[in-house]
Amino acid sequence: MSTSRPNEALIDEAALWMVRLQSGEASPQELQAFADWRAGDARRAEVFDRMSMGAQAMRAGELRLIPRDNLLHTLNAPSGRRRFLGTSLGLGVGAIGLSLLARYVGWLPNPGYLSTGTDERRQLTLIDGSTLILNARSLVETRFDGNQRLLLLRRGELLVDVFKDAGRPFIVQTAEGRMRALGTRFLVRQEDDATRLVVLHSQVEIATAGGARQVVSAGQGARFDAGRILELAASDGTESAWTKGKLEVHDRPLGEVIESLRAYRRGIIRVAPEVAHLRLSGIYPLDDTDSTLQLLQRSLPIKVAYYSPYWVGIEPL
């Protein structure tokens, strides 16, 4: 961090702007006033962007799965033993910057987990020889033993090319159920409250947590929740474009297209409700979301407003 710490007043100001902007009621005049405020001093921009990133970090998918009351009860759990430790391990620590530590303590990846961050794809060869491609912001746990090869998809999306091993079935598990590979190549995405499966080669058998079963063949896509199969239809062949760094859509609403972009961009993208339903088709680069936003702006009656690099608004013209 820079040596001149932003003062308290500046942080207060940034917070008030954030409150106003996130109210969803800011007028065009206010947005302009904000842009002027932000441009007036580099430290303002820095404070505001960090604040945006912190707010963004709150939106972890796992949290949505916990009922709100339960989440609040959990986060309000008292920490009874802190004070005690404060006195018994109380050596001088003033010399150490907290900033240095926070970066390295508690943020190391867990063994057994494969993950990708924002704007990152990974292709890996698993120990059985299968190939796994992870889309951005995905988390997978591998559990292979003598009887089965199990991948737990915690969030995000994966494509797997299964190496044949008749003795050990290959299974992908999500929050809603399990998919057993009867053949080789398929794609699984964990959505907010459903799982999406697209079979690219051979067949995959779904078993939902509630016991519903369905065999899905190559060229078909299915969506299911814990209870049942929600949808089974021919796939339009665009679903695996992300493995090549492309987002391919045929007649999809803008809101859904932006959902796919989020994993490739740090910060907030706000889509105004008036334009979220606009439909579009096309092929867009995933690794350069700024270009994609420009392309969208050219093909639809929308305006892409950059309030900061971490805060983009998509609004009606």
Partner: protein, 170 residues
């Protein structure tokens, strides 16, 4: 990241030699349990090894103490959060208990959010979660918490300030 050069490793190894027993001793006194103390002390050195530039460490014992303290806090806080979370499952009519692995991921996320919101009052946390996770408007939050809309805006400002401070630590 990490001490990949030999001299960095040698530096930490030297630190280990001179300070490991000392660190075990002070953690043991804090915890009152020799077993956990060794685990924490070892983990502390692993974290030091992961620092980008061990040669810049001026006061090894102060650094070790700070990391060990944070590890102990995190471990305890993790237990607090896990216990509180399991309590909430008891209220649910047909609670689906998460598997140990699912619980692990969940608790890790909770721990990070908990760190982000550290020090905020329960009302501020509630307002912030309703807004960020559920997309409720300030007016809707005001109704739910039975306070004025301007009070909700104050809560939100407090939460955003905390977001900045948490990120500035990173």
């Amino acid at each position: 990241m990490g001490a990949d050069s030999k001299s960095d490793f040698a530096l930490v190894a030297q630190m280990f030699k001179s300070d490991y027993s000392w660190l075990c001793g002070s953690v043991r006194r804090a915890l009152g349990c020799p077993h956990g103390a060794q685990d924490i002390a070892s983990e502390t050195f692993l974290r030091v090894l992961a620092l980008p530039d061990p040669s810049s460490i001026r006061e090894p014992r102060a650094l070790l103490t700070t990391i060990a303290r944070r590890l102990i806090y995190d471990g305890w806080r993790r237990q607090d959060l896990e216990r509180a979370y399991l309590e909430t499952l008891a209220w649910m009519p047909d609670a689906v208990y998460p598997s140990p692995e699912e619980r692990e991921v969940l608790i890790e996320t909770l721990l990070q959010v908990d760190r982000l919101l550290e020090g905020l009052s329960s009302r501020v946390k509630a307002a912030f979660l309703y807004h960020q996770l559920d997309g409720l408007s300030y007016a809707q939050i005001a109704e739910r918490l039975e306070v004025s809309t301007s009070r909700v805006q104050q809560y939100m400002a407090d939460a955003f300030k905390r977001c900045y401070l948490a990120m500035a630590e990173v």
